[in-house]
Every structure is written in C-alpha cells, then in structure tokens.
Symmetry: C2
C-alpha cells in the first residue's frame, strides 16, 4: 500500500463567489481519503507558498457547518496573489518541488484561471521530468468564463446571475421618470465578453433590457453607437446598455484606456468604459432632456455571494472534489473540466483536460453567437446561459445578514508538524 502523503491547495487570480466551494470539495475529498494525511493550504497563492505560508486546513475545519459556511463565502478564503512566474524563471519549479517535499506533499492543487493553469502545467512537467512522486492538478475558476476545453467555468454562473438580476433591477430604476433616460452598465471581462453577454438573461425577467450589448469580441464603432442609441431612445424613451470593460475600437484602443497603467501581470488596468460612453451620449445624442447614467457593477459582480447560483456552487464543489480523486489516481498536468450532456434537462459530466491545451489560452464568445449588427447575442447563447444561473443559494443568514467562514491565516505550520 502506498504511503500517506499530504495534499496542498492554493488559490490564485481574481475573486469569485464560487472559488471557496471548489476548495471545499477538494478539502472534503482530501480529508476523507485514506491516501491523504493532512490537507494543507498555501496562504496568498504561489507567493505565500514560496514564503512557506502554509496552514493545516484539517485542523481548522471541524464541523459540517464550517464546510457549509466556506461554500458560501466569496473571494479566496486562502488569499490570492497576482504573482506570475516569469517565463524565463525555470529554477522556480525546482524550488517549488523542494518545498513540496519538505512538507511531505504528494498532491498539489491550484485553483485559478489561465495564468494559474500555466503554473500547474509547468510544475507538473517538472515533477514528471525529475521523477518526483508528486502530482499537480488544476481546478478551474474564473468569472470571465474563458478557459478552454470546459463548457463553462466555476464562478461564471454566479457572476452571471448577479449581472442579470442587477441589470433587470437597474432597468426598472431607469424607467421611473418621464424624461428620456439611458443607463450604461459596465461589466467585467477584458478580452472575453461572456459575462457581458450574460446581461441578456435580464430579459428572462420580462424587461426589454439590455437594449444594446457591446462585447470586446466586436470592434466598437462610436458613430454607429450614437446612431443606434439615438434611434432606440427615440423609440423606447428609456434604454439600458450593457458594455464590457474591454471594449475597444478597430485600431485596438480601449474605450476605457487610462494611459499606460498595467497590473502585475502586464495587463492594462481598465475601468471607465461606461463613463466614457455616457459622456459620448450626453454630448452627441440630440434628444431634449436626456438623462444619462453610468453604473459600474464593480467588484460586487465577482463577490456577491448573496446572489450566487446554486448550480455554479455545486459544480464548483464537484470540480474540487474530482480534482482530488484524479490526483489520488495518479493524474497530473490536468484540469477538471465540465462537459455539457444536455441543455434541457441540464446535465453535465466531469472530465479531465490536458493543461497543454488550456494554459495561457482564452476562449472567446464565438462570432456565431453574436447577432449580425454586433450589439446582441443569439438564441444559442441564451440556451447556453440559462441553466448556469439557476438555483438560489442557500447561504446561512442570521438576522438578515450572511455569515462567512474565515481561516486563521496566521496559524502557519512547520514541516515537522505535518511530516
């Protein structure tokens, strides 16, 4: 019989409402496995791991209520980092392997998006090349829904539910006064417009909003925008426009370009596409008394656990759970994927995708799912989206307010304590 080893899980990238459901599934499966001794967690992703900020999760999750709370707690309970391993830094994988061995870790899990999957992929290759008895498996997470090989990504459905619900409510808020009004709502998504496309689900509630949907997959034409908006305001009086933060013109310039600011991954810092379009509407639409408003859904769209989709939370849990099962069965260099069997009834199957085909790629909204004028999405998109936002979250509410699970992230362990 194989020797018992520890497992370690780390989280990375941007927050989501479902990311802790994923580690919850992994922790539960890990704690129940006869092959796994301790379930460890790295604090603040790879950055904290390299600094040996490692906690013993098995010691901190004692009751079934802890698990229930963790599932419904938004944003990385273990903390995240934006640290990206530089391409040229090959030695780092050796250093990671050393720390893994130090803590007797046989199973490494990384819960994140495209960049994180690149790390898992390279680490897994390094471990195989060096004959280490350690596996590395990816657990998908991104509200951007842009990972390859998987039908959709954990975290997306909850963000989509929040976006669609909020857009419907914002529309009802837009129409109350007699004067013509337009609300421009900005939604996250740099290069992939999935979440902005999900705004179309607001129509399921019976409202006509959004009237226009602008995705980063389509080059933005400012003149056509003003023409189309003017026509719709003249016709419907009150309209709502959904716009992706990554909107850009044909020359590649972002509408929200704030200059040369970039984040630690070298991505441009965006924000303000809605504000920019609102300004254009205010100055260029020739309709008397037009009231304009820009709304940023802000970081709430990725952290509003109170509006999570239960389908998303349970799929996210399953992805974590099955990652541990795959690892215990010796798999490495893979990510758990979701394959859709059927739309109605909605049925999925969990699968494994090779990280070579996932890392550093971005799945964008297919052109066939965008309508001809480029300002709406097709019925195929709606069929795809509908099941993902279903199921109300059942988070614990006391006195009208949610309760959360918090790890003690300062209670780090030393290697000999978990040997």
């Amino acid at each position: 019989m194989k020797e018992m080893k520890n497992m370690l899980i780390a989280q990375s990238g941007g927050p989501s409402s479902a990311i802790n459901a994923s580690i919850c599934g992994a922790i539960a499966r890990g704690m129940a496995s006869s092959r796994i001794k301790h379930v460890l967690g790295a604090v603040n992703g790879m950055q904290g791991f390299l600094e040996r900020k490692i906690i013993n999760i098995s010691d901190q999750m004692k009751t079934s209520e802890d698990f229930d709370l963790l599932i419904h707690t938004p944003a990385h309970a273990l903390g995240s980092s934006r640290y990206k391993i530089p391409q040229e830094n090959k030695e780092i994988y050796g250093k990671i392997a050393e720390i893994l061995k130090e803590y007797n870790i046989g199973y490494f899990f990384f819960n994140g998006g495209n960049d994180s999957m690149d790390t898992v992929n390279k680490l897994s290759e390094h471990l195989k090349r060096n004959g280490e008895d350690i596996v590395a498996v990816g657990i998908p997470k991104t509200i951007d829904n842009d990972l390859e090989l998987t039908d959709h990504c954990p975290g997306f459905g909850s963000a989509a539910r929040y976006v669609a619900t909020s857009i419907a409510e914002l529309y009802l808020d837009t129409i109350v006064y007699p004067m013509p009004a337009v609300t421009v709502v900005e939604i996250m998504g740099r290069n992939a417009g999935w979440l902005t496309a999900a705004s179309a689900l607001a129509r399921e509630t019976g409202v006509p909003a959004p009237h226009l949907i602008y995705l980063p997959e389509v080059d933005f034409d400012p003149d056509a925008f003003i023409e189309e908006a003017t026509r719709l305001i003249a016709k419907d009086r009150h309209i709502l426009i959904a716009v992706s933060e990554g909107l850009h013109t044909a020359d590649g310039n972002y509408i929200a370009d704030k200059g040369s600011a970039v984040d630690m991954f070298g991505h441009k810092t965006l924000g303000g596409a809605a504000t920019e379009l609102e300004k254009q509407l205010k100055h260029r639409v020739k309709i008397d008394g037009l009231k304009t408003r820009a709304v940023q859904l802000s970081t709430l769209q990725r952290s509003a656990a109170h509006c999570a989709s239960n389908v998303d939370l349970s799929e996210s849990y399953q992805c974590g759970y099955r990652a541990v099962e795959a690892a215990v069965n010796g798999k490495s260099g893979i990510m758990i994927t979701i394959a859709r069997i059927s739309d109605i009834p909605y049925v999925v199957r969990y699968d494994e995708g090779n990280l070579d085909q996932i890392a550093n790629r971005e799945k964008k909204v297919p052109a066939a799912w965008i309508t001809e004028g480029g300002t709406d999405v097709s019925e195929e998109m709606m069929v795809y989206l509908r099941p993902l936002v279903t199921g109300e979250t059942s988070e614990l509410i006391v006195g009208g307010l949610p309760r959360f699970f918090r790890f003690d992230l300062d209670k780090t362990v030393l290697p000999w304590e978990v040997a």
Copy 2:
C-alpha cells in the same frame, strides 16, 4: 350610507425596493373596501396626474400572484416624477381638486418622501378649506430614512440590508491580495447619514469592516482622514471605508462637488465622494504598494429587490394598507408612521403623524449615536438598525431570476369610465 367614491394613488421621489409593497397594501385595502369603487393610479406622480395620465388599477390586478409580484418589484411601478410644486403656486391645489372631482376621487394617497409630504399637506389644507369631501393621506417612502415622527421609513431596511451585505462581500474581496489595500464605498444620503450608518451592520457577519464611517452629519476633516486611514492600514493592512455622498467640510463644501449642477428640486447633483477620497488616499498615504479602489453602490442600493428585507416589505405594505383605512375613516393631512414598541423582540405599532410636523423637515442621525471621533456609530444605532434588515425576501424566482409586475401605463381611463 356614504356614497362610494374612487381612490387614487400616486408615487413620487426616488425609487426604493419597497415602494410597491406600499401601494400594494393600499390597493388591496382599497379593492376590499365597500366605500371605494375603483382604485386608480396616477402615472408619473403629480406631473402625470395634472396631465390626467390615470389608469384603473382595479382592472389591471386580477390575481393574487399579481399582488405578490408587485410587492417584490423594485422602483415605482406607477412611475415617478421630480416635479415639485413651486411654493408660490397656490392655484395648483385648486386644479388638483378639480381633477380629483372630475374622476370622482374621494381618497388621495401620495407615496413618497419629504417633498411629497409637503404636497399632501398643502392639498389636504386646500380641500378642507374649500369644504371638499376628499381626503389626502401620505404614505412614507425613502431609503434616506429622514422623515420625522416615524421610527424609520419604508424602503430604508431593504437598502440597509443591501448596503450591509455588499460591504461585507466587498471587504472579503479587498483582503485577498497580500499588498495593503483600501476600498472606499460611497453610499446614498445627501444630508442624513442613516444609510451610510447601516454599513456598520456588515460587522454582524463577522468581518471588521467598515473600519471608518463618514456621515454628512459630521464635518469632514481631510487631514484627520488621511492620518486615521494611514494608522488603520498600517495596523490591519486591508481596510474598507464607508462614506456618504453628502460628505462635506466645515465650510459646507461637498467633497463630491461637481460644480453648480442642480437637479429639478434645486438640490446639488452629487456623486464621486468615494472617488475623491480614493484620490487623496492614493496621493497622501505613505505606504508602499497601497492599492486603492472606489466603489459606488449606485442606484442598485435603492432598487436591489433581490436583497430586500422582509421586515421592510411587510411594514411598507402595512403603511399603505393603513393609509387607506385612515382615509376611509375620514382622516386627512396625515402620514402613516411606524412607532417602535420594543427592540427585542422587535414590535412596532402603526400610528398617524400630522403632516405639518413632517413636510419639508429632515431627521438626521442624532449626535449621540455617532462616536466621539465622528468616524463610527454607537451601540444605540446598532440596536436601532438590527431588526430593520431581518427577514429574507420571498420574491418569485424562475430559472434563477426574478419576475416582476408591470402595469400597462398607457392604458389610461377617461373620467366617465370610472364615474
């Protein structure tokens, strides 16, 4: 026996998640009354009423599901207006009385805030003075919670629940990265800081946020702000600051002052207090790598029906219901008020307040409920706030998304159709 007459309800001011619960209570009581023939609604408040945009609500609400949907639909289902009757315009009340008689209306209800209550008050006086057999009663509504004589205002509890829940979620989103970070969240409330104070309820979820609370009742000191924020970031690393849109310095200048823009009521157009404070933090706090973010809770804080408080919705319903009972009993020139009997258990009684003591006044946060430094609220405030956000909304959700009730606002009636 008294002759049957029609009743008419109109809505005014800014949206809330509970405003339709109030008209729902009024409509239900009106439809069940042997003294009331038709329940009519004015489209777009007093502005639409003066243009005789009047619909027959009795014809449009047919099933109990319609009532249930209307209770949970945010933002004025009858439309609103920002039209304020000029002080010097005395003849307008004569015109209103003429239209009321034209449509055989014996009971007039206005659902709104301070400005609306002034209208009801003056109209009621005019009707009494002229011996008209018509009564006018106010139904309170404002997320600002600033109406006199009532313990709190319909709409406030739901907005407070959204604010507290969102602040807790935004805090969890703020702490994920290792670098120091501060999130500044802007909350509605020009002169009264009740809703900003409600952000303190986020702590009930177990998070330490907000770390600082800035109300318009306290003169803002930019230097003390930077000093206090610096101290807290150095201590806690990640902090969240709640700030009212109406924040101003001792000289009366708004932090968010955008120049001379005013709305149709002559109020200054505000927005951007959080953005301004974020800018100050970015430039003046000397802490390496500090990440700053400004979040506007936007119009969602007043229209996010999905996060409504059930206590608020049922109290709002009762205010509408009891307004009709009072009117049928001959009362006029009053507004239904909520009197608190007990905090724990939470028990209220409905009462009637004289509009003379309500119209055009603003109830601000008492100084005794603000802590000494002016950056937090006292336990008395918490005791006051806690019951108001309790009870989860039970809105109809289909496929993960809400459903709403919409009146056909174009289907206006002529006087002889409802005579």
